[in-house]
Symmetry: C2
Subunit: 113 residues, 2 copies
DNA sequence: TCAATTACTTTGTCTGTCATAGTATTTTAT
DNA sequence: ATAAAATACTATGACAGACAAAGTAATTGA
């Protein structure tokens, strides 16, 4: 694997990653984007557009809420806060992911190679 | 997780699963379908249509080749055999998947919960 | 003999990611 | 002081894999 995870393997994890970051602190869109780049040394190359559509989706599902930051210093920043529903969703997503890993391991690793 | 892995988490693994099954023996389409159902107790619910489009894709990429089985006993069965290119692709897919898991773990598990 | 299962195929829909493009402000370099 | 780069957000359309739904036809089982 050279540097770039395929869109198909990323798929379905974006919302979980966003919720995971917001668990600790509120954050604004671009900050979340940078945070993912930093924490994975640029290996997990989610695109800005992908994240912004994730925010929109999560907001619609009431998993996060948005508010504009204090614009007195610096440019406008739209912050997101996780909701109780978002926390529940996060736990569910992690459980789903672990379940999927277990099943995939059963299918792919158990016997051959 | 109650019984059904979301399409988004399945995404990108279908070809790998098919190749993994064909590593051991040639198999025909419906047999592969049943095999996945059996080996995961029906938890990994790939649909027939999904698998058939995977076969088509893998054939086009020369990762598998198809041949009609001996129709003298029973109905027609289209068998698939993995190619050398398919074996290489399989290893690459597994590597990609493990890489992705590592990155995701770094993002999702390291710090919080 | 009639229903269920096996076995394969096709068509169209949905949705998350991406490419591309754009606006506007702030920071950095020259 | 000014131009370039980085920050920050948004919108639009394309793409591709998984799915729903439907269908054909032969075989098996009750």
């Amino acid at each position: 694997m050279e540097g770039r995870i395929s869109a198909d393997l990323l798929r379905g994890h974006t919302d979980t990653i966003v919720l995971g970051i917001l668990l600790k602190n509120d954050a604004y869109g671009y900050q979340i984007y940078k945070s993912i780049m930093d924490r994975t040394d640029g290996l997990y190359q989610l695109k800005e557009a992908t994240l912004y559509s994730s925010y929109k989706r999560l907001e619609k599902e009431a998993c996060i809420v948005a508010y504009w930051g204090d614009e007195s210093q610096g440019g406008r920043r739209k912050y997101y806060r996780i909701t109780d529903k978002g926390r529940i969703q996060y736990k569910q997503n992690i459980a789903d992911w672990e379940f999927t890993q277990r099943i995939l391991n059963r299918l792919l690793k158990e016997e051959d190679n």
